[in-house]
């Protein structure tokens, strides 16, 4: 009897997250789909988002996320290579880097927002702009991307490196011509996952990339990203809930699309390298 009750409890409670997931997705699609149309995707928002579309918001989102991704690919990959290839040589240094990354990973996003506002917007003088938002997101993305990329680099068998050295290759070319291509799939996957995180971020962008819903002219303009648009419509605009649901649906659609596209690129890329 006791066992039966426990089983029912496990099934009931344990199934809950999946049911709620379905509930959320169905709920949002149900009330969002009716609002989505071609003009919703191609027009600039008017009347605080109650009418018009979300085109400028999508463009700002893509700007912020792609700049953040480019910078963190560069810095993240370099750090991951050092952590995996040189950890034996610079043990202490790598230990400190890892420790800092762990702390960075735990910092709440609103604190990143405050830091970005104080440092990128004010000290660096970028103001409320796409650039300060992107730089703040870069800082947020780094720890996660570096962890995944390092893991991928470590999984390249040591024999490959030794073969490279035996053929007389220099350490740098061993790293870039053998190890990095072999780990390319893990690196790309890490990048996509951190990109998805960047795209879902709201709190860090409230005080860095700002609220302005116009079409962004340059990276020094303030640009409203999708998640902030959703928040603003839901909280500050009476009668904005349907539009918020529609924007949420677009955001989820973008996240799924990015995942699919880049996973297939990674697959293709790896196949080409191996042959």
């Amino acid at each position: 009897m006791k066992v039966l009750l426990s089983k029912i409890a496990v099934l009931g409670l344990g199934g809950l997250p999946i049911l709620v997931l379905a509930w959320i997705l169905i709920d949002i699609s149900y009330s969002g789909l009716s609002e989505i149309s071609w003009s919703f995707l191609t027009e600039v928002p008017t009347n605080a988002g109650r009418s018009g579309g979300i085109s400028s918001v999508i463009v700002s989102t893509l700007w912020v996320v792609s700049i953040a991704t480019m910078i963190s690919t560069f810095i993240g990959l370099a750090t991951a290579i050092i952590l995996s290839e040189l950890s034996a040589k610079w043990e202490k240094f790598c230990l400190i880097v890892r420790w800092s990354l762990d702390i960075l990973a735990g910092v709440p996003s609103i604190v990143f927002g405050l830091f970005g506002n104080a440092f990128f917007s004010q000290v660096c003088g970028f103001g409320f702009s796409i650039l300060s938002g992107a730089l703040t997101l870069t800082v947020m993305m780094l720890p996660f991307f570096i962890r995944v990329a390092e893991e991928g680099l470590r999984q390249v068998p040591n024999v490959y490196r030794k073969t490279g050295y035996a053929l007389g290759m220099r350490p740098l070319s061993v790293t870039f011509k053998i190890v990095v291509p072999q780990a390319s799939k893990a690196i790309v996957i890490g990048l996509v996952l951190s990109l998805a995180r960047a795209m879902s971020e709201t709190a860090a962008l409230l005080f860095t990339s700002g609220y302005v819903e116009r079409w962004p002219e340059s990276v020094f303009d303030s640009g409203r990203v999708l998640s902030i648009h959703i928040y603003d419509l839901a909280m500050n605009v009476p009668g904005g809930i349907e539009r918020a649901n529609a924007s949420a649906l677009v955001l989820i659609g973008l996240l799924i699309a990015i995942n699919l596209i880049i996973y297939s690129i990674a697959d293709f890329w790896q196949r080409k390298r191996v042959v």
């Binding site: 496990v10 199934g15 709620v20 609103i110 959703i230």
Partner: protein, 267 residues
């Protein structure tokens, strides 16, 4: 080498910026004001953050009371699936964890808040916050616990079966006790996430600064307070917000250190 210094530099910069602003609050106004003033009313120079800290602690506690059992139960349920079915189950939990927090907040605002409202006004409350926040934490607890369930040695499970344990007893008396540390790590990570979460609590908790009498009363958390007031905060008010951010940062750093210790013990 130079580039990877960025990681250290950024952490140092964050601490320097947050704490220097917080310290300027200390020298201009004094930290004692954070706990002795009669209310939080920065435009009149009143800076009592205790009701807000209580709000944060209560929402986090409530969320953990919901997410702990549910997360553990989902991890146990995950054990019932084998091979590719478990991979799909994992993927579903990851999707739940990957839904943008602002979208979960929106859903909470349109679904959970009206449900709570049916029981008692005003709807946007500690209870709604706890429920929606727990959704953000459940995937973390479930996935970390499931991984540590899987690392229980096969031989222990087989011994259990050989001794005639039922499937349930094997799970409850062998697998779960052996994964204590993994479960604890998941819960600590979850607490860290719940304390730092901004959008969800901002959208469903009602944001009234008070120590709530019942779970149906609205509350405001540290993170929501920063998000709400930063837009117009100046001078001492601004540094007061940085001081609250410093409090958050200290909380989170402590949790990172604890969970690091746990995970290194597991290895």
């Amino acid at each position: 080498m130079v580039i990877s210094l960025t990681a250290i530099a950024v952490v140092a910069l964050i601490y320097v910026f947050i704490f220097s602003e917080a310290l300027s609050f200390g020298s201009n106004v004094g930290f004692l004001h954070l706990v002795t003033d009669e209310s939080w009313n920065p435009t009149n120079g009143k800076y009592n953050i205790i009701p807000i800290v209580v709000g944060t602690l209560l929402t986090t506690t409530l969320a953990m009371f919901i997410a702990g059992p549910v997360g553990l139960a989902s991890a146990i349920l995950g054990l019932e699936f084998r091979t590719y079915r478990r991979a799909i189950y994992r993927r579903c939990l990851e999707v739940l964890g990957g839904i943008p927090s602002v979208v979960i907040g929106l859903w909470g605002l349109t679904t959970i808040v009206p449900l709570v409202l049916k029981i008692r006004a005003p709807g946007a409350s500690l209870l709604a916050g706890g429920i929606v926040l727990s959704l953000m934490v459940i995937p973390t607890i479930a996935l970390v616990s499931l991984s540590s369930f899987e690392s229980v040695p096969e031989i222990d499970i087989k011994t259990g079966h050989a001794l005639g344990f039922s499937r349930w007893s094997v799970v409850w008396r062998i697998i779960v006790p052996q994964s204590r540390k993994g479960i604890a790590t998941g819960i600590i990570l979850g607490i860290g996430r719940a304390i730092g979460e901004t959008m969800v609590v901002l959208m469903v908790c009602g944001n009234v600064i008070q120590v709530p009498g019942t779970i149906f009363d609205p509350v405001r958390t540290l993170t929501a307070n920063i998000a709400l007031e930063m837009a117009y905060a100046l001078d001492d008010h601004r540094s007061a917000l940085f001081a609250t951010a410093a409090v958050l940062l200290i909380f989170v750093t402590i949790f990172v250190i604890i969970s690091d210790r746990f995970s290194s013990e597991i290895q």
